[in-house]
Symmetry: C3
Subunit: 424 residues, 3 copies
């Protein structure tokens, strides 16, 4: 795990400088790097395509951008950080006094040394983001502003990676790839998703796992629009975001609140005795908003460490690779693996010998010596599985009712299934 | 509101001296005065009319009543307070020693200066109510007792006032008008109902509001008997009683416990941060007993300040106009208005664009600038309404799930409805 | 009750020396003694009979067993306690060194003076149980071991006692009779069941009560197998075990958790203000395991004092008649009687006058004098029964909603039934 943590952090550092947005070459470059770890199927969707209630916008690309003072010194420079340009800025090339320029500048007065992250996807606008202290140091006078960007018909880009399972029913894992130089939001999520995909491929899982790397909102909406007729295959899902900060884990439940993924995540987090919190669904945050919209209402929750907008570094230059750690990402990855290991085995069995207890001893499943008071967990787990296997209760129900570990319950179910005493 | 409080208190003082009972001219005089504030339709139901399991009794009227000592001094005098006569006393004119008279006297030994309120509606009886200290001061000897009352075929009187709404579905507001000189029970309830009716007429409400001024038990039963075929129009209701004492507000839930009026009252009381209590239904108290009887089982709760029989002044001469205040009545009125304002707007909407989020920005409903962490309440409310508008959730559900104010949620629903994104 | 307690303890002492097992003459002798108190129908089921997933085993009988030292002294002697022999030991007659013998000896190192209780019903084996300190005192050397037992085709024995009720629907009371010299587990349960049967016969109960005295597991399974077609008559049931130790009462709920017996037992224990605990169902313990197996899923709970395996004396020679007291058994018996008194009266009524309140005064069920604040419990109980008698709520529901005593509620229902206002 430590090795995986280091590898994930290295991936974050590699992706960090790229200028991602909801379209454009930054997304393509990001997916190309991720594709070195797990094979990706990349989709390009043309500008103007109708996707649900939305339309794929023009593609945005940017080559250079700066504010230069009268002496020609670049006082704000896109080359230093992709955050310096308002996302989706229209091109501009002008000279203007500071007073006029101010209307296009975004700062964080409460964190004067940090650069904010701002966008204007759907309203044509240009602007720069900079530290308040940089702005304060600018003398009055004329400034040259230049944004060498293009807004033109092109494509929206997203990618999928599928780990085929024993059945066609799917679990989706989705992460947004549209944020520029922000480490926790969401390079850490991308890194955890990538390594999770790799680890799931080690053996054929029960479910088919589909990983979606797509720009936020418009990307998830595009995926849903293009998969509307097969979305009923999606039985469970997880949105990964803010997966690497030092805070404790937070699971945000699906809109349903009692979806199987909700119960699995709550169980795994509680059973692991990690400090954590479980949050109710809200229709805000990441792409669970789209997957859980009432028409789809998928069983998709969201796993983060400190949740959306819950830390001061959120959407600022302070969310840099130092803010995320190999240990935190490894921990997020471990919880995902534990949760999917439960999800993959969480069946509802039917007891084929439901009248009285079947004679387990005859089948070698029960101790011959009677009278002792320290009955073993494995035997208790078999009795619990037999008792609750009425087609209504899943192994997770058995686990929660019995207080036994899920692994013990699943092993007992395996033994009973092997003896022909229960069936799915 | 202060003005309304003073006006309500003046109404209480005007009504206080009248000798009301379940029938008779005291009720008629009361309704005549209320009719000066809001127009009333007065109903007269003849003695002997079968009403559900009951029969309208003979009408009771009283002109004079007293106990006089040997010297002819009136030691107990109906002219001083209508409480002095046992309600529905049959006429009597006799002279008897104190020892014999005692069997007809009612006092409150624990509150020796207070006169109790007692009745005997359905068993022919006569009696006087007086202060224990008055009784203690009476010397032995002969006393003249005289009750100049009439029990004769006549009518039971009740009244209605209707505020027509946009739809025919009704909200009933019911208060009992049968108690004699008792201010909190129920002149305060009558006053609040009267001013509530007046305020609802300021604009056409959604529901039709029907105010019922009727004697307790037999009056409500008479109303139900005469409206049995249209009672299914009554969707919600509130019994108003003990509406002016200094205690905190108490909402007693309907028999159902989860009727919409129950949820609305609980929400409004909690959201207003008034100290208050919410009580479970019991089949005792005021006319909610009848409206919530299992055959009707209407969604009718009861709003009081200190509830039924919960204060020492209850059913005694200490429940006089000094016991109720303009401020308390104004507060009860305000809560009723707030509750009906919620009830009137509490619809279930259906999201017409339920697959993914609709693009609010395109419709001018969403900020263009992205990336900020302080999303506004109005936007959050729109997302919540869209998320929960599946035909199952009301705006009150949205309010409780979101933690946003009802007004904000209702405004968001209005904006979305205006944009054609949701329908009722 | 004290007299019953002493009689029950005398019964425990009488039964204590007998060597019971899941078959054999010890069970027969036990049932013969119980039959002196209540008439029993004894059933004999032949070896080899298929019962559900099980087969009735060979019958086991034992005449003598000992370990003797080289000098011929019996160092372990079955005559001193039936616990000394491993239950269902096959016969043995041999001389062997202590080292070899050790593999057949069972002790309790943590309680060196106590003899454990051990069995090997379904795997042919022989063995002795003894105190650790007895074992420690044995010098090395040769020992004679002899178990004069028989395992041969025969019968499994169980008995029933039926108290006929007003209806054919049944309540079963089941206790296991297979444990040898152990007082709390389960001679106390047998004694309480016996005296409970006797007390129920004092008047014809509503339900038919069937008492089952059967060996644990295989006996309950045999009863279920032979009564499979009539088991749907069993509406409620109670397993009695560990009924006499000094601990507080424990009710273990049925698998359903909300069966009527569960609600009745919870109510009676809470209302009696006895210290007690209520435990969730687990598929371990006594014969509730069989009655609650998912194919039957009967509403059968289990009443104990300290529950199964919850006391150090469990399954040891320390569970002797001194460990159980007349007072504890009398208390267990009293709770059973209280519970069945509630169960027997717990009907669902339908209000025949559900529109408004019926006029109780006219029927002599209500005080004529109105206005008092201290309404009597009996009147409140009538209003509650009328309010909730919609066919959905039982008298226990009325009791719990109203907070009134069950007896008061049942008396009110009786009065209303007598007046023709409610029907079953």
């Amino acid at each position: 795990m430590t090795a995986a943590g280091e590898e994930m952090h290295a991936l974050v550092e590699r992706l960090y400088p790229l200028c991602r947005s909801i379209t454009g070459d930054g997304v393509r470059a990001t997916l190309e790097i991720v594709g070195e770890y797990v094979p990706l199927q990349v989709h390009e969707v043309p500008t103007g395509t109708q996707v649900l209630d939305w339309t794929v916008p023009q593609e945005w690309n940017i080559r250079d951008a700066y504010i230069a003072d009268a002496a020609g010194n670049r006082v704000v420079d896109f080359a230093a950080s992709s955050l310096h340009v308002l996302g989706y800025s229209v091109p501009v090339s002008a000279t203007m006094p500071l007073a006029e320029l101010r209307g296009h500048l975004h700062t964080l007065p409460d964190h004067p040394s940090w650069v904010p992250y701002r966008t204007s996807y759907y309203k044509p606008e240009w602007g720069f983001c900079l530290a308040q202290e940089t702005l304060d140091a600018l003398p009055d006078g004329e400034y040259e502003v230049r944004i060498d960007s293009t807004l033109a018909d092109g494509h929206l880009t997203y990618a999928e990676h599928v780990v085929p399972g024993q059945i066609a029913d799917e679990v989706i894992v989705s992460c947004h790839v549209c944020h520029p130089s922000l480490a926790n939001d969401n390079l850490a999520g991308i890194a955890v998703a990538t390594f999770l995909a790799r680890s799931l491929a080690e053996r054929t899982p029960y479910y088919t796992y589909r990983f979606i790397f797509a720009p936020g909102t418009i990307g998830a909406i595009t995926w849903l629009a293009r998969n509307a007729e097969r979305v009923d295959r999606v039985k469970h899902g997880l949105v990964l975001a803010c997966a690497g900060d030092p805070g404790q884990l937070t699971y945000k439940q699906s809109r349903r609140g009692d979806a199987e993924i909700d119960r699995v995540m709550r169980h795994v987090l509680a059973a692991s005795e990690r400090p954590h919190s479980v949050a109710e669904f809200t229709p805000y945050g990441y792409d669970e908003r789209q997957y859980c919209s009432p028409g789809f209402d998928l069983g998709v929750g969201s796993l983060s460490r400190t949740p959306y907008a819950g830390y001061p570094e959120y959407h600022t230059s302070a969310d840099n690779p130092d803010f995320v750690s190999p240990e935190a990402m490894a921990d997020t990855l471990a919880v995902c693996r534990e949760a999917f290991a439960v999800l993959d085995r969480n069946r509802r069995y039917v007891n084929l010998s439901p009248y009285g207890e079947p004679q387990l001893g005859r089948r070698g499943l029960y101790d011959a010596l009677g009278g002792r008071s320290d009955t073993k967990q494995a035997q208790m787990a078999m009795l619990w599985v037999l008792s609750l296997s009425d087609g209504e209760h899943s192994l997770l129900d058995v686990t929660e009712r019995s207080g036994l570990p899920f692994d013990t319950v699943a092993a007992a179910a395996g033994a009973l299934h092997g003896a022909g005493l229960i069936k799915v």
